[in-house]
Amino acid sequence: MKDLLKRVLALLATMLAVSFLTFAAFSLISGDTATAMLGTSATPERLAALRAELGLDRPLAVRYGKWLLGFFTGDLGVSTSYQQPVRELLAPKVGLTLWLSLMSFVLITAVSIPLGVWSAGRRRFEGARTALNQLGMAVPPFFTGILLSWVFGVGLKWFMPGQFPDAGQDFAGAAVYLFFAAAALSIPRIAMTVRMLRSTVQEELGKDYVRTAISRGNGRRAVLRRHVLKNALPPVVTFLAQTMAEIVAGSIVVEQVFVIPGLGRMLVASIANRDYPVVQAIVVILALWVVLAGTAADLINQRIDPRLRLGGAA
């Protein structure tokens, strides 16, 4: 219980630091916001008036406090390019990105864990398998995305590339669409996870307790399942949390390839439009996601690995 409390506090502290840094960084350049909205020909009076309206003339700490308060009450400010509350703008998009990321995460876990364990126990064709693994890591999601849209979209017509169906009307269509996007996103991460799992399991297999267990007549398979996996799991959980973070970042690119109206596409468009309130809100939301995944991994590891509980080390 004390552990959990400590975790939550650390999480809050990290989020505060991240949000403050983002806020400060964007504030440094947000002098541009007024100019960006009014154009360079605007009179200094009008610029000053707009800055006062947006609250840009007040000290950084005050603005941050106000923004933070707003964040917790669901007020994320107003988009400068859409003239619309950021909250309204982002609300329908968060869900899509969340679904895409979760789908990809499930896919990665479901494929790479069995594959990694299977691969660790085998010596044959080790070189070829490693080469294949390297190839998997070399394929960028946006290229896989294009290939998948070409084969399954243009060729087999399982979905229409570029036309994401409304999930409310065509749930199955939307799910199929998201599945291909998730697949494109997952391939390099699957390769990385398999590689990681393989080396972790192999390292465990070389330890004394494994030899002891086998010499006492236990089957290799049973030892692998009952002892080795238990010990090899914690680093994999940590790695998967990192993967969750990478998926979120990768979804930015994949949403662009598949034209999925999620957070990532919004982020890219807002960066191009210099719409800082939106960029800031999305960055903080994604950062929260990353930090949450990391914390979840730590908590899971403490449950499955008693060694981490005793030491008290983070």
Binding site: T14, T130, P140, F142, A245, V268, V290
Partner: protein, 269 residues
């Protein structure tokens, strides 16, 4: 057990071949990459145009060669910033330790938790999108923490080794110890890290340019070309295939090289 290191050989051969091609692309390409109507529009791959032509009749193979040059040079520049900055920070904090080390490493842990592309997007939106120098700076800065971590571990592990202590007792200055005695012995760890860094830089740059906030024409990199190719997927699928395969091949061959270097170091196979 000991066998020839196939990965190192294959990686060196492939990387060398690609590097030669990319270098060649700086001086000579089969056609002028930006010449319109070097061939018919949307021509499929043929002997005259190995990867076909695009909507303006431009020769795609020539464009890919040129784009690969842009991508590789950006990746190398990024790597230079990230590796030099990171190794310097890692070496100094790893060797001298102390409270500065503590604070910097905490910060580092926090930074490496975030995906590099996300950080790079934040930095690029601060610097202003669409400029080559900004892309290099953004990616370079973002790659510093990971190099700092790797090199710090390597330098820390050498700090109390006998020959380093002897050098210290003989009165060798810190800088000399770091550069002459420690650096060569960390290469086994740093070289594979460099190959991974190069690949990450290639992929990150390609992603950003694909998104349209990285490099934009006239310096068209492979990522930008791929986003262009996606628009003509119906008419000229070979454009996307050629460009994408160039990225894959580049990352794959450097990946093999890294794998080979790692194996040589560990002595496996």
């Amino acid at each position: 057990m000991k066998r020839g290191n196939g990965f190192l050989a294959a990686g060196l051969a492939l990387t060398g071949l690609l590097a030669a091609l990319v270098l060649l692309g700086f001086f000579w390409t089969p056609c002028d990459p930006s010449a319109m109507a070097a061939g018919p529009k949307f021509a499929p791959p043929s002997l005259a145009h190995w990867m076909g032509t695009d909507n303006f009749g431009r020769d795609i193979f020539s464009r890919v060669l040129q784009g690969a040059g842009a991508t590789a040079s950006i990746a190398l520049a990024t790597l230079a910033i990230g590796a030099v900055g990171g190794c310097l920070a890692g070496a100094l904090t790893g060797y001298f330790g102390g409270p500065v080390d503590e604070v910097l490493m905490r910060l580092n842990d926090a930074l490496t938790a975030f995906p590099s592309i996300l950080l790079a997007l934040v930095v690029i939106s601060l610097l202003g999108p669409g400029k080559k120098s900004n892309v290099i700076l953004a990616l370079g800065l973002v790659f510093i923490p990971s190099f700092a971590r790797v090199s710090r571990t390597a330098f820390t592990s050498l700090r109390d080794v006998n020959y380093i202590q002897s050098a210290r007792l003989m009165g060798a200055p810190g800088g000399r110890i770091l550069a002459l005695h420690m650096l060569p012995n960390t290469l086994a760890v740093l070289l594979p890290a460099l190959t991974i860094g190069f690949n990450n830089a290639v992929l990150a740059e390609a992603s950003m340019s694909f998104l349209g906030i990285g490099v934009t024409p006239p310096d068209a990199s492979l990522g930008y070309m791929l986003s262009e190719a996606q628009g003509m997927l119906f008419a000229a699928p070979w454009y996307a295939a050629g460009t994408g395969l160039a990225i894959v091949l580049m990352v794959f061959s450097v990946g093999l090289l890294g794998e080979g270097l790692r194996r040589r170091d560990k002595g496996v196979l």
